[in-house]
Subunit: 314 residues, 2 copies
Amino acid sequence: MADFPRRVHIHEEGPREGFQIEQGPIATADKVRFIEALAGTGVAEVQCVSFVDPKRVPQMADAEEVARAIQRREGVRYTGLWLNLRGMQRARKTPLDIGGQVGLSASESFSVRNNGKDTEGLLAAHRQTLDYLVENDIPLVSGIVTTAFGCNLEGAIPVERVVQQAERLLAVVGEYGMKLPVLRLADTVGWANPQAIAAVVGAVRERWPEQRIGLHLHDTRGTAMANALMGLQMGVDTFDSACGGLGGCPFAGHAGAAGNICTEDLAFLCEEMGIATGIDLEALVECARLAESIVGHPLPGKLMRGGTLARFRH
Amino acid sequence: MADFPRRVHIHEEGPREGFQIEQGPIATADKVRFIEALAGTGVAEVQCVSFVDPKRVPQMADAEEVARAIQRREGVRYTGLWLNLRGMQRARKTPLDIGGQVGLSASESFSVRNNGKDTEGLLAAHRQTLDYLVENDIPLVSGIVTTAFGCNLEGAIPVERVVQQAERLLAVVGEYGMKLPVLRLADTVGWANPQAIAAVVGAVRERWPEQRIGLHLHDTRGTAMANALMGLQMGVDTFDSACGGLGGCPFAGHAGAAGNICTEDLAFLCEEMGIATGIDLEALVECARLAESIVGHPLPGKLMRGGTLARFRH
């Protein structure tokens, strides 16, 4: 337990990854209201929208409108997702805090399906992006290895493959004299178990002891909180999550995919163990209820129903 | 990770603790069907009913009928819950496998509310039960300390208090020359976090190194799977759980209490880490779907929606 971080950094992805998978249209005003409520909870970063092809992801067709309507709050980063240089250029025209990102999938099949490019294709695209970052003096904010714990198309993913993809990401940014402020390992389709978390995080840490590692977890099979605990035990201090447990990946190739790890449940777990999140849990529970009312169906988060323990403590 | 048990023993409590909290009446035949399906999954023990006052728990008014209707399967223990000697005598008249149980709450207020007796009153009742066990040559099967991680009425529970109550249980059974085959620590109202699991299990283990310890976990605030992982890391090899995540405690004093830790999600977590459960996960997922159709509302279990990984593995 000595390895628990003292503080964790939570990147709230509900408005983007969460809303993205919802079938029904969500009003721009509701998206903005939710983002503003989240930004008021103390969460450090909110991923607001994705700048992707509206034909593939109709829910994100109003990305620019959402980005421009947000009443910004000081101290909060408002992020967005994009998959290629064109998406980034779109994103940069909005008031969002758009930094450089690079990513590879540990599964070639998933890479082609999700990004339309294999590893070589993505690395070529990343060089274009990195050129653009240098030309425009834009900081690199993160790198991600997706399907790092398994893939519905390719099955189990060897640990060495994740290390190899991390190495390629670090090498390509290294060509530009850059480092990855955080290397995120994503359990994109909910395959991870705590032993796999320990193995993959351990292998990456052993190879690059100074590299900050983040986890992007899904609760597809109920293991997300156990996986997060193992991450914390391994010293991971950066997590992507979604308020209310919103989310899922529309291209993951299986129906009924449960959402991202639930932000308020994760923050509760941390706070109960004395790990600071900077988050007002009661305010975040209110956000989860707001999310439920916006999407119009129950969300899987537990804390929003069980309530925090504050009212019972003497 | 070296401390993980090689095999865990799961006591399925869905038919009792799960159905008990359901508002609508559940047909006796549905209860029997669910119990028989569970017994076909490889789970070692199924808690079928409770022998309690039908005025307090109307759902269990047909306990005898259920117990007698079950088509028994060899190798499975069919257990029941009872709170006093009279309940045990009722239970003993059925074909269920009724052994002796003793329990105390770590919270006096919860004890009085849930059992109508404080610690002294329960110990006096346990002596009556233990006399009866000796007279009738009935084995003692378990002891339990409830609200071992916190209580909605009394708030935080000091670790020393749990050790004290465990000591009283072990002392009273010791008076009869008996031991507890398993000492179960219950997070009755969903207060536990992994650090508390480590502290309480660690304190009990330190005091009685040879005592087998079980965990009874609730997922009220989303921490159950992380708590189970910590239990496994501490070498705990016995868990109570409920298929589909059924459950909750009707006397716990808060609405919206989430259920017990979900059996199939827990079994999946174990199996993915190479810890044997003896359970056929696909069959158990079918049971969870059956439970959902019986109670007529969605249950919180995740694996029943995400599916196991078997079909994706090459």
